[in-house]
Symmetry: C2
Amino acid sequence: MKPRTVQNAPPLDAAQWIEAAFDALAEGGIEAVRVDPLAKQLGVTRGSFYWHFKDRDALHQAMLRQWRERANYMIFNRLERSAESASQRLDRLLALPHATERSSRGAAIELAVRLWAQRDRNAAKAVRHVDRTRLTYFAKLLQQHGVPVVEARHRAFLFYAALMGEAWITTDNREAMRHGLRALLLAKP
Amino acid sequence: MKPRTVQNAPPLDAAQWIEAAFDALAEGGIEAVRVDPLAKQLGVTRGSFYWHFKDRDALHQAMLRQWRERANYMIFNRLERSAESASQRLDRLLALPHATERSSRGAAIELAVRLWAQRDRNAAKAVRHVDRTRLTYFAKLLQQHGVPVVEARHRAFLFYAALMGEAWITTDNREAMRHGLRALLLAKP
DNA sequence: CCCAGGCCATACACTTGTGTATGGTCCCTT
DNA sequence: AAGGGACCATACACAAGTGTATGGCCTGGG
């Protein structure tokens, strides 16, 4: 009878559904990103969802597309814009997991996507792409920092692993740890 | 009328439910470990489940207890039994993710537990415990290998992170990578 | 002013999952 | 040879989630 309340909330678009979907993904994995709870979370009914998306799977694919882009472009472009040295950039990257609540969400999303990728071919493809991009970027930075090519690739892997480890290996004194890592990873040969 | 089929399958115990639960956990996260699917998977009805466990949450807690033990004792004791040098043990640890299907399951379980730990206090506690145990063990091995105490802790973190990275960072030429990591991580100071 | 289309509520039919209550087998003991 | 307990099937009541069908509101362009 009164579909949208008198004080009209601004209408939703697909992006907001996707945002809420990432929240759910971060908390419960891909199995937890369900239409009905999302609708309740957004304060609407599923009628809205099925207008923006064909079905649940369409949402999943949209999430993958977005993750695949945001996971690289956002971070790297922002990093490249500021004119710093390679080592400064590596520093800032290492300090990244520490950031805030925001990056804790990001870490959870990373976990969830990788778990998802265990049995979903599309998710696996996205993860492969993201990993390749990041690894080659890190290797490039390390080369610019003075590390020879082959070792740069190896150390890029360590760097990447340390980045993730910082995010979800629970340990005390992260501060001290980060300094040690910095020394180990960025040592000139 | 004929509760258990004539050809009696051996009766289940709680352990088998937990095993199946870990399979589900590895595939879909904690949200996917549901009673009814597990029952179908095991070829019984939920009647069995609710005899062995009070409810779904009881199963979750039992899983945590088991993970917390198996994640450390099993691996380390087996490693300690064989009389090797510290560096040999570190080598074998680094080669661990490569192993088989079996360890792919283990990696997925690790992912799922850590994702779970984002919002479950008990899971978080288990992860903290496991991480502490592993990190101190790695640090001990590295000390035995000749690395001074403080750097041993830092390098143990890198070692741990690399171990996980190997398991779930998708990259080509894992073989070459592992050799590079070995050189970087086990270099004498 | 009106009406087409963007956006959403409502209702309905299923499906899947949870938990409980109860009873039926089988085996092991006494 | 009972009888008790381990183990599970069955049935029931309910809750939650998925899609579909349909119609209503509300805004902008002619």
